[in-house]
Amino acid sequence: MADASTSAKGDLKLANVTKSFGEFTAVDDLSLVIPEGSFFALLGPSGCGKTTTLRMIAGLEVPTAGTIHVGNTDITDMRPYKRPVNTVFQNYALFPHLSIFENVAFGLRRRGIKDVKEQVDKVLNLVELPHLAERKPTQLSGGQQQRIAVARAIVNRPALLLLDEPLGALDLKLRRQMQIELKWIQTEVGLTFVHVTHDQEEAMTMADTIAVMNEGRIEQMGSPADLYDNPKTAFVANFLGQSNLIQGKIVDSDGDSHVVDLYGQKVSVLKRRTVAKDSSVLFGIRPEKLRIQPDSHDKPGNVLTGGKISDVSYIGVSTQYQVEMPWGQEIMVFEQNDDGVPPLDKGDEVRLSWEPIFSFALDGNEDATAGVDVEPEAE
C-alpha cells in the first residue's frame, strides 16, 4: 500500500462529477482542476455538497457520473486506502478505543512504518497537545479533538489533504493560530490542501483559489481578490462580503463603459465588469466603495441622489449607514472615520457617489437576494 499511496502525484482533476442520492442531486456536474501544491478552499452554505465532494475525492463515496484524476492516475474507483489522500473529518472520527498517540500513529503503522514515535511526537507538538498523548478521545474537548484529527491526517504527509471544516470548533484565537500553522505546513511541505469552510474570512486569508459552491454547483472560482472584486453571480456577490445590487437597464454604450439607468438616474459600469444576457442588469457596488454626502454637494463620478439615512451605526473605525433610496431600496454604506467629519444623522438627505471603476453589473434576471441570508452556520 505504501507505494500506491505515494505514487500518484500531480494536479487533482474532477471532470463532470455528479453525485445523486436517489432523486436528490447533491453534487451536480462539477468540474475543476486543483493545481499540485495549491491551497484550495471550497466555500458554500450548509448542505451545498462540500462534504460530498470531499468524500468522492477520498473514495468514501462513488460518483454517480464523472471521473477524478490525480495527475494521470484515474482514482475514480480506487479504494480509499490506496489513494494518496488523507481527510480531516468534519466530525473528527477519532477512534474511541485507541489512545491519542495510537490515533495519530494509525496511518503510519498501516503503511508499515515501525518507528513512529518521533513523527507522532513532532506532530503532537505542532498542534500543541503533546501532554494528551496517552488519553482517550472522549477525554478531550471538542477543540482538542479537532486538532488531533488534523494531526492524525497531516502526520502522513499525503499528496492531497482534505480538510472538512477542520477549525470549526475552535475559538477565534486558536483558529487564527491553527490557520497560520496549517498554511505553514502546506507551503513548507508543498502539500495540496482542499479546505472546506463556512468562514469566508478563513477562505480569503488562507487560500490561493476559492471555489464558491451553491446547490451542488460551483458558482465561481478564482483568487480571493478576483472573487471579491469581480463577482459573476448575485450569489457570489452576496455570499462573499456584502453587495448593493440595484435593478437597472443598459441604455447606452460609451467606449469601454455601459450607461445604466437606475430608476431614472444614469450611472456607468465598465464593459469588462459586466455579465449580462440582455439589457436588464443588476448593478452592483460594495458598501465600502460608496461615499456619502449631504444632498447639496456636487461630486464627480457616478452619483445617486435622493437618499435618506434610515439607520446609522457607529463602530469606531467606520460608520455603517442604511440609506433609503427614492425607489424604496435600502443601500448599505461603510464610511471610514478618517476625515474628521462627524457622522451624518438619521433622516439626513444624502447622495451616494463612487468611482465608476468600482462598480460591476450582473445578469438582471437573477435574484438580487441570492446568498444574502445563507448565514454561515456550523454543524
Binding site: Y81, L94, H97, S99, F106
Partner: protein, 264 residues
C-alpha cells in the same frame, strides 16, 4: 408535617431503591443463607449453621455430574451460538440484501415463542429424524434459542457503531481486513462478550426446552427439579450461591477494567 413531606421528597428515590433491591435480593440472600443450613432430608426450615455443605458440595448423588453436564452444554452452546449469531448480526447490520427486513423480524420469533412450544416441536423433529435424545440434542436445542439473543445483542452494538470510523481507518491506509481487525472488531467486541455471557446464562438455567430433549441426560436445573419434591439438598444452594458469586465477580471485574481503561 411540612418537614416530613420534604424529608420524603428528598429521600423518596433512596427509599424506593432500598425497597426495590430488597425485593430483588431476598431470594438470593435466602439461597445463600440456607446453603449453610444443617439440614436433614429437606432444606426448608432453619436448623442451625454448618460449613458441612460447602465442604462437600458433591456430597449428593449426581449433583456434580449434572453440574458438569450443564457447564459443558453451556460452553459448547455459547461458543457455537456466539459465532453463528455474530456472523448473522454482521450480515444484518452491514449488508443490504433482499429479504433483510424479513430476516430481521424472523430472528425475533424464537425469542417470542413460548418455550414449551419450542421444546415440544424440537422433540418431534428429533424423533422424526431418528436422533438419540441426550447430550447433543440438548446442545442443538440450546444453540437454537441462544442465537436469537446473540444476534439481537451484537446487532445493537453494530448499529451504534459510527460508519465514519471505519471510513477514517480506510482513509488512513487500512484495507478491509485491517479495518475490521483494528477498528470494527475491537469496537463490537464488548457486545459480543455480553452476548456470550447472556447465551451462557440462558443455556445454564434452561429447564423447559431441556426437559423435552434430554433423554436420560440430566442437567443441573433438571436435578433441582427432580429433587425438589423429595426435598432439595443444601448442596444445590451451595452451587447456586457459587454461580451467583462468580457472576458477581465477573461483573465487578468488568467494571473495574472498563473504568481503568477510561482513566488510562
Amino acid at each position: 408535617m411540612k418537614k416530613l413531606s420534604r424529608w420524603f421528597g428528598k429521600n423518596l428515590i433512596r427509599i424506593y431503591m432500598v425497597l426495590g433491591f430488597t425485593y430483588l435480593f431476598i431470594p438470593i440472600l435466602y439461597t445463600i443463607v440456607f446453603s449453610f443450613n444443617d439440614y436433614i432430608k429437606s432444606n426448608l426450615v432453619w436448623r442451625g449453621f454448618t460449613w458441612h455443605n460447602w465442604q462437600t458440595p458433591c456430597g449428593v448423588p449426581n449433583i456434580c455430574s449434572d453440574l458438569g453436564n450443564s457447564l459443558k452444554i453451556g460452553l459448547i452452546a455459547t461458543f457455537v451460538a456466539t459465532i453463528l449469531g455474530t456472523l448473522i448480526a454482521f450480515a444484518l447490520g452491514r449488508y443490504a440484501f433482499k429479504g433483510r427486513p424479513a430476516v430481521n423480524t424472523l430472528i425475533f420469533l424464537p425469542m417470542a415463542s413460548p418455550e414449551l412450544v419450542l421444546g415440544a416441536s424440537l422433540l418431534t423433529i428429533f424423533i422424526n429424524l431418528g436422533f438419540n435424545l441426550g447430550f447433543w440434542t440438548i446442545v442443538i436445542a440450546h444453540v437454537m434459542f441462544c442465537i436469537s439473543f446473540v444476534v439481537v445483542t451484537v446487532k445493537a452494538r453494530i448499529a451504534s457503531l459510527d460508519p465514519r470510523l471505519e471510513q477514517a481507518a480506510m482513509d488512513l491506509y487500512a484495507n478491509e481486513r485491517e479495518t475490521f481487525r483494528r477498528i470494527t472488531f475491537p469496537l463490537v467486541a464488548p457486545g459480543i462478550a455480553g452476548a456470550a455471557l447472556l447465551a451462557f446464562s440462558l443455556s445454564f438455567d434452561d429447564f423447559i426446552i431441556t426437559n423435552f430433549n434430554s433423554g436420560t441426560v440430566e442437567t443441573f436445573p433438571l436435578f433441582v427439579y427432580h429433587n425438589a419434591e423429595r426435598g432439595l439438598p443444601a448442596q444445590a444452594n451451595v452451587i447456586g450461591s457459587s454461580m451467583f458469586l462468580i457472576a458477581l465477580i465477573i461483573v465487578l471485574a468488568g467494571q473495574i477494567v472498563s473504568r481503568k481503561r477510561k482513566i488510562a
